[in-house]
């Protein structure tokens, strides 16, 4: 007798079934190389005896086992589908830099609410925004849009962390010293002004770009052999650099 069946959600059961069916098709395709007659599987259906359960959040099913009476019946039908139908019923794959909701640090309630609304990635959210839909309203205020936008920015920043290649001491046209930080993904958000602190004293950021940041130095910064530079590039990227002179 088999071990106790695991409970499942319809989506994951169908996913597993499709994976198995794909394996069958692959095997049959290999067989077709040497066999004069080969067959392909179409229109598979599975009538399942199941017991549904609801935990207040999700409906799960468990397949009936020997000796269990009174099960409900679910029929899963996997029909053949043409490439035209696939195009008509499948969402266009997300862009390369699309971020899945799972990768964003969101509370469970928001994630669940978004999933119920069919939102699974940042790209989905963008499309909803373009159609001028008020997510906050249709989710009964469960989705805090401002908070969500910040978390998305944070996740995006996490995928493009700042990287420092070189730090150099230099002087400008007026002979005033400045620190030149070169790297990648530095000040990538034009709406944020970076803030620099050198040796625990605020310093002026002269210019910034995604590859270069110039920090004005004055006597107040009291440069010594080892200097600590803390640079806040945006709300989600703070870095500390130790500069030896």
């Amino acid at each position: 007798m088999a071990t106790e069946n695991a409970s499942w959600q319809l989506e994951e059961f169908v996913d597993s079934l499709v994976v198995e069916l794909d394996k069958t098709r692959e095997t049959l395709a290999v067989k077709a190389i040497n066999k004069p007659l080969s067959y392909t599987v179409k229109d598979l259906a599975l009538d399942l005896n199941i017991f549904p359960s609801y935990d207040g959040d999700q409906i799960k099913f468990i397949t009936a086992q020997p000796g269990q009476q009174g099960a409900s019946k679910v029929t899963i039908q996997l029909g053949s589908i043409t490439d035209q139908q696939v195009r008509a019923t499948t969402k266009t794959p997300g862009a390369k830099n699309d971020i899945k909701l799972d990768a964003i640090d969101l509370d469970k309630v928001t994630k669940k609410k978004l999933r119920k609304l069919g939102v699974s990635s940042v790209d989905d959210l963008r499309q909803i925004e373009q159609k001028n839909v008020d997510l906050q309203q249709i989710s009964d205020d469960a989705v805090d849009y401002q908070k969500l936008a910040k978390q998305i920015q944070k996740a995006r920043r996490g995928e493009k962390p700042p990287k420092v290649d070189t730090v150099a001491l230099s002087v400008d046209q007026d002979d005033r010293p400045y620190l030149l930080i070169r790297g990648r993904n530095l000040a990538i958000h034009p709406e944020f002004d970076p803030v620099a602190v050198v040796n625990q004293t605020l310093a002026e950021v002269m210019s910034r770009s995604d590859t270069e940041v110039k920090i004005q130095l004055t006597e107040a910064h009291q440069l010594i052999d080892k200097n600590e530079v803390i640079l806040t590039l945006d709300p989600f990227a703070v870095m500390k650099v130790n500069v030896k002179i």
Binding site: M1, A2, T3, N5, A6, W8, E12, F13, D15, S16, L17, E20, L21, K23, T24, T27, L28, A32, P36, L37, S38, Y39, T40, V41, K42, D43, L44, A45, L46, D47, L48, N49, I62, T63, A64, Q65, P66, G67, Q68, A71
Partner: protein, 90 residues
């Protein structure tokens, strides 16, 4: 792990689809082949969750054919297998 009495779902379909052919009778001058086949069968299922969280479906045709005090739960599998024809129609 799926119970050893069961096999992955893909295998059960493959094994049901062992159609050989064509059938040839030289004397009668007849040559037959199966162009499509509909299979419907009761199956037992073993649905397990692997350590990585994925769901695996194990299946087997009925294991016993005798009436027992504990009756197995027979689910029903049905599918159609059709002949794959070459692009030239052979």
């Amino acid at each position: 792990m799926i119970d050893e009495a069961f096999m992955p779902f893909a295998k059960i379909i493959e094994r049901m689809l062992t159609l050989e052919g064509p059938l040839v009778d030289d004397e009668a001058g007849v040559r037959l082949y199966v162009s499509a086949c509909e299979i419907e069968s009761p199956v037992e299922l073993d649905v397990v969750r692997e350590e990585d969280g994925s769901l695996r479906i194990g299946s087997t045709p009925p294991l016993y054919y005798v009436d027992t005090s504990i009756r197995p739960s027979f689910h029903r599998l049905s599918f159609t297998a059709t002949l794959v024809r070459d692009s030239d129609g052979d």
